[in-house]
Amino acid sequence: MEKFIQLTLSGIANGAIFALVALGFVLIYKSSDVINFAQGELLLIGAYLTYTTVEMIGLWWPIGVVIAVVLAAIIGVLVEQLVLRPLIGEPTISVIMVTIGLSLLLRAIIGGIWGVTPRTAPQFLPRDTITLFGANVGVDRLWAFALALTLFVLLTLFFRYSREGIAMRAVADDQQAALSMGISVKRVWAIAWAIAAVTASVGGILLMSIFGGVSGQIARVGLLVFPVVILGGLDSIPGAIVGGLIIGLLQSFAGGYLPPELGMGEVAPFIVLLLILLVRPYGLFGQRIIERV
């Protein structure tokens, strides 16, 4: 029982991080129909920037994290303006090829700047454990969960009440109608990329603190965005959250209960991905419009 609770709690904490990363992906897809294969690199960017500001420059970690997140948002906007904007009106498959290329390019740039050897990183989230429902849980997991939750609440308020948030949802519903009321679609795309970069880099930073280092392992978590969004539906924000939690739990249980030699913790999410594609390709919450790419 104790093991079950432990796995559940860490699954939920990881799932919240996956959901955060998937949320950015969904935002980009909803507002501009772009499938962003470079989401994993956005995680790495956040982690390495924080590594730089906190470990290399030596800033107090909250300041280092804020600077890293702001820089990541700027990078997100630049990527949208320089790489994706010129592709407006191109076929989906070309845009996909470009985002795959973008992910390779970003990976090469990151390797060029920070090297490819894993770095030990600042663990600013507290490392101690506490007992919750009779199980030992890392406090860092709880922090990760709380931070992800805070970000979700802030974003929900943004989408519900702010001018730009409502404009973003309007563009996702009907681009031409949004244009007809003077909403700038280009601005909406830029904001979508900025938010995606922020949520992904926060995810990357949390993972860095949990793993105690920066390495390709973080970008591998970025890959999990695909099972998450396929499960939840490419165009559904609640789907990203629920999908993230389900995949987090699944990974945790598969890793904890099945023989470790099988490596099921890593593989299980992708088995689900295949099953979902076979059974319900628009996801649990997605709209039933499917385009094969």
């Binding site: 404009a167 309007a170 244009l179 007809s180 009321m181």
Partner: protein
């Protein structure tokens, strides 16, 4: 006095090849309701999009002539700028944001005019359309067609425009509801002094509401005049009001002669 809106010999081409407006001219005086009539594919929606700057996303372009609003040329401006100058197009087919609530749709309409004075504007819209107030928290995809049309017009009012362009507001609505909506359009024009350019297939209603009317065929204006005069014009009676000499509805067989006479019209 110069008109509020003037189109002068406007030519519009889609995809660099398809010539849709072929030298169209019309004017809209301030404070009036002007109707633009014509059959399917005449280029009515294209005319409105040329004015509102919505051609670009459809790969269309004003290639000749000019469009002036309050004396300023606007055919090179983008849609957001044109909305801020005071022109608001209500698109054909209502086009409400289906996943947004009624009130969020109205907020989207107020995008350019901002959150300041939002509550007063909201009350103003609800005073014209009390039904929207009852459904303010409802997701607009579940509204009836008539309520969606009201929402589309309300959304336009939220931007405080000087000129509202309505593209077939009667489309797909029951006759009684159409009467109601036209009544509200006239009322908005009268109490708020908003100028209206009205595109319609329902010629009878449009001619009843408008101060002046244009009839277009094939990318050009072929007839214009006061509604009273147009209603007496035998061609208009036959082709647009569907009435023959005796004032009865035409039979299908008679409609066939329409093609021949129509060519003469253009």
């Amino acid at each position: 006095m110069q008109p509020m809106l003037a189109l002068n010999n406007v030519e519009v081409i889609y995809n660099d090849v398809v010539l849709v407006l072929k030298g169209l001219s019309l004017t809209v005086p301030e404070g009036r309701i002007v109707a633009l009539l014509g059959s399917n594919g005449a280029g009515k929606s294209t005319t409105l999009k040329a004015i509102s700057g919505l051609l670009k996303p459809e790969n269309g372009e004003v290639t000749d002539g000019e469009i002036r609003f309050l004396g300023q040329p606007i055919h090179k401006k983008d849609a957001a700028e044109i909305v801020r100058m005071g022109i608001f197009q209500v698109l054909e087919g209502r086009r409400v944001f289906e996943h947004l609530t009624v009130e969020e749709n109205l907020r989207a309409g107020a995008y350019t005019s901002g959150w300041k004075g939002f509550d007063e504007k909201l009350e103003m819209v609800y005073s014209y359309f009390p039904r929207l107030k009852e459904r303010r928290r409802q997701v607009s995809g579940f509204l009836s067609g008539g309520e969606q049309q009201m929402l589309a017009i309300g959304r336009a009012l939220m931007a405080h425009p000087k000129l509202i362009m309505l593209d077939e507001p009667s489309l797909g609505l029951a006759p009684l509801l159409v009467e109601e909506i036209f009544q509200i359009i006239r009322q908005i024009n009268q109490d708020r002094g908003v100028t209206i350019l009205l595109v319609e297939q329902n010629a009878r209603l449009a001619l009843e509401s408008a101060d002046y009317a244009y009839i277009m065929e094939n990318g050009r204006i072929v007839l214009e005049g006061l509604p009273a005069d147009l209603k007496d014009n035998p061609d208009v009676r036959e082709f647009y009001l569907g009435l023959n000499e005796v004032g009865r509805r035409k039979s299908y067989r008679e409609v066939k002669t329409y093609k021949r006479r129509k060519r003469w019209l253009s």
